[in-house]
Amino acid sequence: MEKKKYGKQRDDHIVVLIGMIAAVLILMAFLKGKTYYSLSNLRSMIFQFPEFGILAFGMMVCMIAGGIDLSLVGIMNLAGVVAAIMIKNGSPIFLGVLVAVLIGAACGAFNGFLIGFLNIPAMLVTLCGLEVYAGLSLAITGGPAVNALPDSFKSIANGSMGPIPYVLFIFIIVALLVAFVMKYTTFGHEIYFLGSNKVAAKYSGINTLKVTVLTHMFSGILGGISGIVITSHLNSAKSSNGETYTLMSLLIVVLGGVNPDGGRGRVLGVTLAIILLQLISNAFTIMRAPDTMKTFVNGVLLIAALILDVALEKRNRKRM
C-alpha cells in the first residue's frame, strides 16, 4: 500500500514536467517556430546543457542524502583550472582529465569528512568550501583566465560525431551511471536511507560517516567532470566561470522532484528538469530577452515548483 502511493506521487511530478516541456515547445512553435525548430538550434542547445546538467546530478545526490552541495561551482573551476594548466604545459589530455576528477573527489571527500565527522551542517561546510576552492583557483591563476588550450582538448565539448556533439554522449553516460548507482547499488540505497532518516540509518548499522564522505566524493567527481566540459567548451579556465550554476542546479534539482529535506528524487525527473530549463533559456536567447530576465524567471520557477510540490503532496495525503 505504502509503496503504491510512493510510485503514484512520482509519476505526478514527471507528468507535470513533461507537460511544462510540451507547453514551452508549443508556445515557441507559435512565437518563433522557424528558428526554434532548426537543427542548428538543437545542436547549440545540446552543446550548452551538459556542463550544468552534470553539476545538477551532483547536487541531486547530495540533496537526496539530506545535504546540499553549494561548493560544486568552486570544485568545477578548481578542477578546470588545474587541468587547463597541466594540458597547456604539455601533459596528455587523459592525464588532465584524470587529475580533474581526482581533485573533484578530494574536494568532495574533504566536504564530506567535515560534514560527517564534525557534524557541521552541509550547507555551511560547502559554503565555506566554495570560498576555499574558488579562492584556491584564483590563487593558482593569479587572476587572468588560462586561455588558448590545444585544439584536441577544445574538441571534447565543441566537437561532434556526425551531427551529434560528443558532450551529449558524456552527459548520457553520466546520467546512466548516476541512475545505476542510485537504483541498483547498496550505496545508492544507503544514500536514500540516510536522507530520509539519519538517526534510523545510523541505528540500523549504516556507517553514516562513510556514506556521507562517499556521497560528497561522488558529487565532487561530477563537479570535476563538469569542470573539464566547461573548460573545454569555453576554451578557457578561471575561478569565476559559471557562477550562476549554483542557483541553476538547485533550481533543476528541486524542479526535478527531489525533496529538499532529503530521501526522495529520481534521475529521470532531474534529467527532464535539465531539458526544460535549457528549452526555456534557449527560448529567452531567441526572443532576445536580457539575461537578467532569465534570472528573474528562474527564481519564479523555483518557487512555483516548490508550491506545486506542496500542493501535490497535500492532494496525495487526502487521497490516502
Binding site: 564534525l118 557541521i120 550547507m123 568550501g129 570560498e131 579562492g135 590563487a139 529538499p260 537578467t292 506542496v310
Partner: protein, 335 residues
C-alpha cells in the same frame, strides 16, 4: 562548582574569539608596527558598519531557525531604486525619502520571504535564493543598471557629518568616522534587549530550537517567523542606504556575494546555524574578526589573488572551531 563556571566563562565562544582577535592583532602589529594606531581603529570601524548591520539581520533569522541569503539582492534593490527615482525626477532630495523608500522595499521583500517560508513552508535556503534571483533579476530588467555616484542633498549632508575627525600628526592624513556608525551601535543594543528581555526575543530562540515544542507551548510560530524576516528585510533596506551614503555610490550589484561572509561572521560568533543559539556580542566579535582579517591581509603582505583563499580558510577554521565548541557544550549539557 564555582571553578567550573569560571572555566566555562574563560572558554566561551566570545572569549575564544577575543583571544583569536588579540593574537591576530599582535601578529599583524609585529609585521607592520603602523597597525597599532588610531587610524587603523577608525578604518576598521568604518569598514565594519554595514557588515555589523547585515550580521544582526542574519543573526535574528538564523536564531529563528532559518537562513537568509537574499539580503544582498534586497539591499541592492533598496539602494538602487531611490537613486533611480531621484535621477528620473520622481523623488525628493531629502534623506527621509531615500531611507523611507529603501526601508519600504526591504520590508516588502521581507514580507515576501516570510510568506514563502512561514505560510508555504518552503525551506528557507531555497526560498531566499529564489527571492534573491527574483529581486536582482527583476530590478535590472525593470530599472536597468547604472552607477549612481552623486548623492542627493539630504544624504550629502549626512555624509558630511562626522563624529570623530582625527588628523595623523606624522602624515597629515585625516581620518573621519561618520555619524552613521551610531546606527549599528544603537541597533545592537536594541536587538540585544529584544532577544534577551522580551517575549518576542525569547520566542525567536524557542522556535529556532524546537519548532514543534514551541507551537505546543502556545507560541505563535508563524507570527514570529514573519517578524524575523520582515525585521531583517527592513533593516537590510536601511543598511543599504547607509552603504550608499558612505560609499557615495549605488550599484545594482554592489552587495552581491556578501551573504557568505556575513553568514560566516555569525557562525564564527557562535550563532548555531541550526537555530536557537546566538548572541549579539558574539556576532559583533565575529564581524570584527572577519573585518580585521579582510582589512589587514595587505598589511601582512598576502598577494591579492591569494586573499580569497586565505579568508576562506580562516572562515572554515572558525566554523570548525565553533562547531567543536557546540559539540562540547552539548556534551556538557548532557552530563
Amino acid at each position: 562548582m564555582k571553578k567550573g563556571k569560571r572555566n566555562s566563562m574563560l572558554t566561551s565562544t566570545q572569549m575564544i574569539l577575543l583571544y583569536v582577535i588579540i593574537v591576530f592583532c599582535i601578529i599583524v602589529g609585529l609585521r607592520q608596527p603602523a597597525f597599532f594606531s588610531v587610524a587603523t581603529v577608525i578604518n576598521i570601524a568604518r569598514a565594519a558598519i554595514f557588515s555589523a548591520c547585515f550580521a544582526l539581520c542574519e543573526m535574528i533569522v538564523i536564531i529563528s531557525g532559518g537562513i537568509d541569503v537574499s539580503f544582498p539582492a534586497i539591499g541592492c534593490v533598496a539602494m538602487y531604486v531611490p537613486m533611480y527615482l531621484i535621477d528620473k525626477g520622481m523623488g525628493s532630495q531629502s534623506a527621509w525619502f531615500c531611507f523611507g523608500v529603501a526601508i519600504l522595499i526591504g520590508l516588502g521583500f521581507g514580507l515576501f520571504n516570510s510568506i514563502l517560508i512561514a505560510v508555504l513552508d518552503i525551506p528557507p535556503l531555497i526560498a531566499t535564493l529564489a527571492t534573491s534571483s527574483i529581486a536582482s533579476g527583476g530590478a535590472v530588467t525593470i530599472f536597468g543598471s547604472h552607477d549612481y555616484t552623486s548623492l542627493p542633498e539630504g544624504l550629502q549632508k549626512i555624509y558630511n557629518t562626522n563624529l570623530i575627525t582625527y588628523v595623523d600628526p606624522n602624515t597629515g592624513f585625516s581620518y573621519v568616522l561618520n555619524i552613521l556608525v551610531l546606527v549599528p551601535i544603537i541597533a545592537s543594543i536594541i536587538v540585544a534587549f529584544l532577544l534577551k528581555r522580551t517575549m518576542l526575543g525569547r520566542g525567536l530562540y524557542a522556535i529556532g530550537g524546537a519548532k514543534h515544542a514551541a507551537r505546543v507551548a502556545g507560541l505563535n510560530v508563524r507570527g514570529l517567523q514573519f517578524f524575523a524576516y520582515i525585521f531583517s528585510g527592513a533593516f537590510t533596506g536601511l543598511t543599504a542606504m547607509i552603504y550608499t551614503t558612505l560609499m557615495k555610490s549605488a550599484r545594482i550589484s554592489a552587495l552581491m556575494g556578501d551573504e557568505m561572509i556575513i553568514i560566516a561572521a555569525c557562525v564564527i560568533g557562535g550563532v548555531r546555524i541550526t537555530g536557537g543559539h546566538g548572541t549579539v556580542s558574539g556576532t559583533l566579535l565575529g564581524v570584527l574578526l572577519i573585518t580585521l582579517v579582510q582589512n589587514s591581509l595587505n598589511m601582512l603582505g598576502i598577494p591579492t589573488s591569494w586573499q580569497r583563499f586565505v579568508v576562506g580558510i580562516i572562515i572554515l577554521l572558525g566554523t570548525i572551531l565553533t562547531s567543536w565548541q557546540t559539540k562540547r557544550s552539548l556534551k556538557a549539557e548532557k552530563a
